[in-house]
Amino acid sequence: MSRVRFGIVVFPGTWSDRDCAHAVAQAGYEAVRLWHDDRSLDGVDCVILPGGFSYGDYLRAGAIAAHARIMTAVRSFAAAGGPVLGICNGFQVLCEAGLLPGALLRNRSLQFRCEWTHLRVEGCPTRFTAGLPADRPLRIPISHGEGRYHADPETIAGLEASGRVVLRYVDAGGAVCDAANPNGSLHGIAGVASAGGNVVGMMPHPERACELVLGSADGLGLFRAVAGAEREPVGPR
């Protein structure tokens, strides 16, 4: 089996692509950069939309990137079941592109928040969260000004009922509480998945928690999960 290749999309204003490439390398896989103006995904096995301020957050965070040329290929890749992970600005891009429901609003505090959070892995297994520990929260930091997850009540209810809320802000003991919600997201939602479980968006930065010297290596699990799923394909859920 050939080595799993991660494609990391770079838009103007993206800044977490190097961190993501480092995390992929830490996990033992190969990372290649994909340019926003490309038409092809270069045959990668997994696509990552990293954090940053693509196109300077003009109009709305992620709104311009959602229509960049490479997104046509990303849409096709996702429609064919390919795994796509949107991190922070990448999550905003996926929502703006309609690949995930909802939107990310200005933080409840109106402040940029850069701090450690605890995340409970729950819901249906996805390409990025299958096999992650469910008995303890992951310790992964956030770094955003607009991360308050919002959708209409029917959409939220549908996500909850179908197990598509896959990461939720909790306290260190694993309990959902307002004090552990860093941005005012509805239901403490930190990450959601597509119906097929192959597209996942999350505001926290797993690539910033990829080795113990950084304070946590919990983020590596997401990169390993999708690589494992590549080697042993799973059927439709």
Binding site: R60, A63, H67, G102, A103, L105, A151, D152
Partner: protein
């Protein structure tokens, strides 16, 4: 929040403030298809229907004369 600041400045008559986004888009050609095109622009890019709504009005720009 803006209303509170206005009250602090003594503008007590302010009962409500709405902060929004104003976009001015200039189109080539006539009015014929403008409304349909602008609606499509709003639906596809300018407005995020999850969190925003929109309305627009059309205005004829005076044509620039030669040499201007």
């Amino acid at each position: 929040m803006v209303r509170t600041a206005l009250h602090t400045l003594g503008f007590d008559e302010v009962s409500d403030v709405r902060v929004g986004r104003y976009l001015a888009v200039t189109l080539a050609g006539g009015r014929e298809h403008a409304a349909a095109r602008v609606t499509a622009m709003c639906e596809r890019l300018l407005c995020n229907g999850v969190i925003e709504d929109y309305r627009f009005s059309l205005r004829d720009e005076p044509a620039a004369g030669p040499g201007e």
